[in-house]
């Protein structure tokens, strides 16, 4: 447990040292969502219709953006070897890194989403649903993403390959997440979507750290 906190502390400290990094995933989210009205035109009804999809796709992409850094920096400077050689179980350290990633890249999205949602003219109810789905969904994205991040370690062009590997895995989250907001906007029940997202989260929490740990070990070898 102390080790878990230590690694989270370390990763957050590293992010804070480059102050810009805290905000960039967030800004990317904002910029991408604002690109759409520019590319599509300012028809309010149309925008409202596509809002859940666009917001969720933007969330996916901005998670993706920082994903490669989850292990890559440590791999390159040799710190990852040292983490593998530390007396702590590696799975714990990997979990710590995933949590740190979510705090930096996922949590801010959840908090920022309503503001963007307002720009797309969503009503209050939809905004709550949006935040709820993001709260459940973004940890799943960080978790699944860690597998890709570990698998593409040391692979040149890894960050591009990473998106290829991981986007298909993100699709269920996208479908349920955007689906819930859409369902709410047409007055349907959203509890099904939420329980599915919850189930995904629990499953991912249970299995992903082990998978990522295995992938990290393979990369180090």
């Amino acid at each position: 447990m102390k080790a878990l906190l230590a690694i989270i502390h370390r990763d957050l400290l590293l992010v804070m040292r480059r102050k810009s990094e805290v905000l960039t995933a967030l800004f990317f989210f904002v910029v991408v969502t604002s690109l759409f009205p520019l590319g599509i035109g300012a028809d309010a009804a149309l925008l409202r219709k596509i809002a859940p999809g666009v917001l969720w796709v933007a969330a996916l992409l901005s998670t993706l953006l920082g994903l490669h850094r989850m292990f890559a920096a440590d791999y390159q400077d040799g710190s990852l070897e040292q983490l593998v050689l530390s007396p702590q179980p590696l799975a714990l350290l990997v979990t710590g890194k995933i949590i740190a990633h979510w705090i930096v890249c996922g949590l801010p999205l959840v908090l920022l989403a309503p503001i963007i949602g307002i720009q797309f003219d969503l009503d209050a109810g939809s905004l709550y649903v949006l935040m709820g789905t993001l709260l459940l969904g973004t940890p799943v994205l960080s978790l699944l993403g860690s597998i890709g991040a570990a698998l593409t370690l040391g692979v040149r062009g890894g960050s591009v390959l990473l998106s290829l590997l991981i986007l298909p895995l993100f699709i269920p989250v996208l479908i349920f997440g955007a689906g819930a907001v859409y369902a709410h906007s047409v007055g349907l029940d959203t509890s099904g979507h939420f329980s599915l997202l919850g189930a995904l989260l629990i499953l991912a929490l249970a299995f992903v750290p082990w998978v990522s740990t295995a992938a990290v070990k393979i990369a180090i070898e």
Binding site: I147, L151, P168, I171, G179, H193, V211, I218, E221
Partner: protein
């Protein structure tokens, strides 16, 4: 590195006879013609049934005959993925190189099957639905399957060390397998609201027995074909990866 491979290789022969590339290589060579014969047999009969025995469909006219390649290709694309993931998993657990090679050999053919399913589906959709593509759950899941194959191939291609590539791609294949049913069943929750136009043969009154037979025969043809091509490819892969082993240097093809 590869030198080590062949030292340990000789020690392993006693343990797993057929799981060693050196014993499997000639066996595969002997099996290949057998599967080619089966492929042509099923193919000839299947094509004959599809074009000359199966009657015209009441709703779709002659256009429906695409089914005889569309459905086999679709089935094989999914089946091959499962088999590939199984081999990859075996390779990971038992550290068996041959299993990993089998997975490596299956990926391209699986990707081609997924591609064919998409292509034939699109060329079926245009006359029947009036569009090449709709974002319906089944079509989308097939597209994602193609992406999973391509991801597997791309990951393998970008790792130089074959043993590391085996393990990394095995993890990817296994994770992807979890994704397949999820995507597949998403039909239920997603798209129930706005379904694209869809014509379904199974809903039309009676699917002629002969049609079913044609489909099954063609599916068998595709199956045998997949096995034959996979065995051919796995032989090439074995030679590439075991280039330094003594048995490769002494094998007939290389010597003569």
């Amino acid at each position: 590195m590869s030198q080590i491979n062949h030292f340990s290789n000789h020690r392993l022969i006693n343990w797993f006879k057929l799981s060693s590339p050196s014993t499997f290589y000639p066996v595969a060579g002997k099996l290949i013609p057998f599967f080619w014969v089966l492929t042509f047999l099923f193919g000839a009969v299947g094509l004959w049934v599809s074009f000359f025995v199966a009657p015209v469909d009441a709703v779709q006219g002659q256009g429906y005959r695409i089914i005889f390649i569309h459905v086999p290709a679709s089935w094989m694309s999914m089946f091959v993925y499962l088999v590939m993931a199984a081999w990859a998993g075996l390779g990971l657990v038992f550290n068996a190189r041959l299993s990993a090679m089998m997975a490596q050999a299956l990926a391209p053919i699986g990707a081609w099957m997924a591609f064919l399913s998409l292509w034939t589906g699109a060329f079926w959709g245009k006359p029947m639905w009036g569009t090449w593509w709709v974002w319906d759950a089944r079509l989308t899941s097939e597209l994602i399957l193609l992406f999973l194959y391509l991801g597997f191939i791309a990951l393998r291609a970008s790792i130089d060390d074959p043993r590391r590539a085996d393990k990394a791609s095995a993890i990817l294949a296994l994770v992807g397998v979890v994704n397949v049913p999820i995507i597949y069943f998403s039909v239920k929750w997603w798209n129930t609201l706005h379904q694209g136009a869809s014509v379904s043969l199974t809903k039309s009154p009676a699917m002629a027995q002969t049609m079913l037979w044609g489909m099954l025969l063609m599916a068998l043809c595709f199956w045998m074909y997949t096995i034959a091509v996979t065995l051919m490819r796995v032989r090439a892969i074995i030679l590439e990866r075991e280039a330094h082993a003594d048995w490769v240097r002494q094998s007939i093809e290389v010597k003569s």
